[in-house]
């Protein structure tokens, strides 16, 4: 019950966050130099054409009126229509969201699936060549810009050994390279985090006690060590999920994946206000929800935190 109450309270707290985001993004979009009517009509437009289109798009109304209208509609789940394609923004977002979500989840799965074992291995074989190798991979993964990794992967797997397509989203094969590119940085962070967390945990008294009781190494590792190692790792993974949603923009552009990141970038370029506003707001919602889920998971992993909720009640 306290968990549920905590969850609901956090959910309510998302509302002011989203309100804040909506104000910020609305202001940025409208205060940035440039005008959608101007972009849509191109260099040959007369002042009259531009004025006419601005009127059609409702851009001549005072800013607070436009914001009010935007907010009012948004609360009813209507984010307006794209100025560029005239399609409802919600539809545009929902068209693109599955690709982004798939990519983000796969990227995170890759990051944890590789990063966690890498970190554990490095810690268990501390100060050996294996440790050095794992640390090197982690450092490289973090330092190399991901668009460069993307191009190198494409050269390797699309041209020299042509087994993977370099763009589009027609089959699972299309997702292999983008997953690696999106996940590699998070993978590196998780590997390093796991290693240092692991090194700390295995020196703890409770681990020594468990060993002294004669529990098998395997059981010590899974029951006593791993669950404690996971706490900081989950935190980092959660934080980086938001980060990797940002990375989606690069990945989607390089691999031509029709996702949310590319939608927003294209919209920014053509000053398509409703799509930028709606897209960013939606991103903010995603990050908020993921953070919330991570906090829940955190509580599930750490009895001390669960106890705190009880105390706070």
């Amino acid at each position: 019950m306290p968990m549920l109450r905590y969850f609901l309270r956090r959910l309510l707290l998302l509302i002011p966050v989203l309100l804040g985001v909506s104000v910020v993004i609305f202001s940025i979009v409208h205060l940035a130099p440039g005008d959608p009517a101007e972009v849509m009509l191109g260099p040959s437009a007369t002042q009259e054409d531009i004025a006419n289109l601005r009127e059609q798009l409702g851009l001549n109304r005072p800013l607070y009126v436009q914001y009010g209208a935007f907010l009012g509609n948004a609360l009813r789940g209507d984010l307006g229509r794209s100025m560029r394609s005239n399609a409802p923004v919600v539809e545009e977002i929902m068209d693109r969201f599955p690709a982004t979500l798939t990519l983000a989840v796969l990227g995170m799965a890759f990051a944890i699936g590789i990063g966690l074992p890498l970190g554990l291995l490095a810690a268990l074989k501390q100060n050996t060549w294996i440790d050095a190798l794992c640390s090197f991979v982690a450092l490289a993964g973090f330092s190399i810009p991901n668009f460069w990794i993307a191009l190198m992967l494409m050269l390797l797997f699309s041209i020299y050994i042509p087994i993977l397509p370099s763009s589009g989203i027609d089959s699972w094969k299309n997702l292999v390279m983008p997953t690696i590119v999106l996940g590699v940085q998070t993978m590196a962070v998780i590997a390093r985090m796991t290693r240092s967390s692991m090194l700390e945990v295995i020196r703890q008294d409770y681990v020594r006690t468990a060993r002294a009781k004669g529990i098998s190494d395997r059981l010590v590792l899974t029951r006593h060590i791993l669950s404690n190692v996971m706490i900081p790792v989950v935190t980092i993974a959660g934080l980086y999920f938001g980060h990797s949603l940002g990375g989606v923009v690069v990945t989607e552009t390089v691999f031509s994946i029709p996702g949310l990141g590319r939608l927003i970038v294209d919209a920014i370029r053509s000053h398509d206000y409703p799509v930028v506003q709606g897209g960013v707001l939606f991103f903010a919602l995603c990050v908020g929800v993921v953070n919330l889920l991570v906090d829940m998971l955190y509580a599930a992993l750490d009895p001390r935190i669960k106890a705190q909720y009880r105390a706070a009640r």
């Binding site: 940035a32 130099p33 440039g34 005008d35 959608p36 101007e38 972009v39 849509m40 009509l41 191109g42 260099p43 040959s44 437009a45 007369t46 002042q47 009259e48 054409d49 531009i50 006419n52 289109l53 059609q56 798009l57 560029r84 394609s85 005239n86 399609a87 545009e92 068209d95 693109r96 191009l151 494409m154 050269l155 699309s158 041209i159 042509p162 397509p165 370099s166 763009s167 589009g168 989203i169 552009t253 390089v254 691999f255 031509s256 029709p258 996702g259 590319r262 939608l263 294209d266 000053h271």
Partner: protein, 502 residues
């Protein structure tokens, strides 16, 4: 016995090679996905490319930008305000509806309707009314004699729509539904990814040779090239990156194509401020810059110095024109001295942040420094650059002008004094030039028009409210199996005649 076995084997073979297996598909990569399939909602060349395959116009242009018949078999001018078009008979839209004069009227009325907010409405600005004479005859009446009418009607923005399809689809028109009468029918569009078109067998120009076209938007240059190299796509119809093009030209596995673009790139000069109001100073700027060097450095040699305000592929370009201002820094210094500016002057060059534009600006800056003109460069966001220059930016600005394919569209918007405050960004005003342009726009005799525009070009080059820079090449490439592709100066090649060899 033997014969029947042979028949069996042949039929089995035919079954294996059934139409599904044989369906030919051309995969095309553009820089961006389309914005809409509604010709009246777009003004980007990527949408235009797909629209070109699906819709027909009253008239079209060929690869030399000459007008050719399309839906209209013939036309005439009963008087200098009226255009009567005779439509082909027996033509049907992809939904089976016949193409009638009523559809033409509906199309043009919708384009002109302010509530459509069509970016392309400007192309029919001079049209006062559209009258249906009979099912296959339609009459356009203009407010004043308007010579470039046919060029306007060849634009993708004026493609003919089917009234029934548009009205039935409502807000979904252009995203889920698009009905034309061109060689390919719109099948599906997955937003941000690709558009699929299937051949329309009843096309009045005869069925296309390829069964299916897939247009994809691939924004990254490198990814587009890798896709072509790895066989993921067959054709890049334009915007092939210059830096890589030279390598591809020598590559035996691919075909490359070039043709001059309709656009002229220039450094506009705001003549409303000193010392750019002085013709001698403007001429000095023109002489000071080595355009060929810019073509070589910035466009990897894929272009040519501009010979005036119009690209050679625009109708009305005066073929007798040589280079507008051959590189001559000596002469430039003399002109500056003559203008009383021997010590040079300060100016600002405004441009957007594209590498091609910033490198051009830097080269111009260096050439100007050579004659004592101290130029600083200021980068601006694209739409801000457009709106600031429309108001008058007080310096030089790097832009390109594509126009419509006709000298009228190539000159009037950018230099007629009526457009000061919007597209005449030079804020240049000259009564004689206005008169010439007005006459050229109203003269229906094309030969007489050519003479008028030759005179106008002479005058503009002499007055030079802009530094004439370069005309770029359009660069395209395809796999070896693509036959019959030709790039078009307007960036919008029709693919009706393209085929795939084994």
């Amino acid at each position: 016995m033997k014969v029947s076995r042979a028949i069996l084997m042949v039929s089995a073979l035919l079954l294996i090679l059934s139409p599904a297996a044989l369906a030919s598909e051309l995969r095309i990569a553009q820089v961006a996905d389309i914005a809409s399939m509604d010709p009246q909602k777009v003004n980007d060349v990527y949408s235009a490319n797909v629209i070109r395959q699906v819709y027909s116009n009253l008239v079209q242009v060929d690869e030399n930008m000459q007008i050719i018949p399309d839906l209209a078999e013939s036309w005439e001018n009963p008087d200098n305000l009226s255009w009567v078009f005779h439509l082909r008979r027996g033509v049907a839209f992809h939904n089976g509806e016949p193409v009638t004069a009523a559809d033409v009227k509906f199309t043009f009325d919708r384009l002109k309707d302010p509530s459509t907010a069509a970016p392309g409405a400007t192309h029919l600005k001079e049209v006062k009314s559209v009258e249906v004479i009979d099912d296959h005859t339609v009459k356009l009446v203009t407010a004043r004699p308007y010579a470039p009418m046919l060029m306007s009607l060849s634009r993708y923005e004026t493609a003919i729509l089917n009234r029934k399809a548009v009205e039935e689809a409502g807000a979904d028109y252009g995203s889920k539904v698009a009905v034309g009468c061109g060689p390919y029918r719109f099948t599906s569009w997955s937003r941000g990814d690709k558009v699929i078109l299937e051949r329309y067998d009843e096309y009045f120009g005869g069925p296309a040779k390829i069964d299916r076209l897939v247009y994809r938007g691939i924004p990254e240059d490198a990814t587009r090239l890798i896709e072509l190299e790895s066989g993921g796509i067959d054709l890049i119809p334009a915007n092939f990156p210059y830096a890589e093009f030279v390598n591809f030209q020598g590559n035996k596995g691919f075909k490359t194509y070039t043709c001059p673009a309709m656009a002229t790139n220039y450094l506009g000069l705001d003549v409303a401020v000193k010392p750019l109001d002085n013709k001698l100073a403007r001429q000095a700027i023109n002489y000071a810059v080595d355009k060929q060097a810019i073509v070589d450095a910035v466009y990897f040699g894929l272009g040519m110095p501009a010979r005036g305000p119009l690209s050679p592929v625009i109708w009305g370009f005066d073929p007798n024109r040589g280079d507008a201002y051959p590189y001559n820094p000596e002469k430039a210094r003399e002109l500056l001295a003559e203008a009383g500016l021997a010590d040079g002057f300060d100016m600002t060059i405004f441009c957007d942040a594209r590498t091609e534009r910033t490198s051009t600006a830097e080269l111009i800056q260096a050439y100007l420094a050579d004659i004592g003109v101290r130029a600083s460069i200021e980068l601006m966001e694209w739409s801000a650059l457009l709106s600031e220059t429309a108001k008058g930016i007080g310096g030089g600005f790097l832009l390109g002008w594509t126009g419509t394919g006709d000298a009228d569209g190539g000159l009037v918007p950018i230099i007629h004094s009526a457009n000061i405050g919007s597209s005449n960004r030079f804020r240049y005003s000259n009564k004689n030039l206005d008169d010439l342009l007005d006459r050229g726009g109203a003269e229906l005799d094309q030969d007489a028009r050519l003479k008028i525009y030759a005179e106008a070009q002479e005058l503009i080059v002499d007055e030079c409210p802009l530094l004439f820079l370069a005309v770029q090449e359009i660069t395209a490439a395809s796999s070896k199996s693509v036959e019959g592709f030709r790039p078009y100066p307007n960036f919008i090649p029709p693919l009706h005649g393209v085929s795939l060899s084994e």
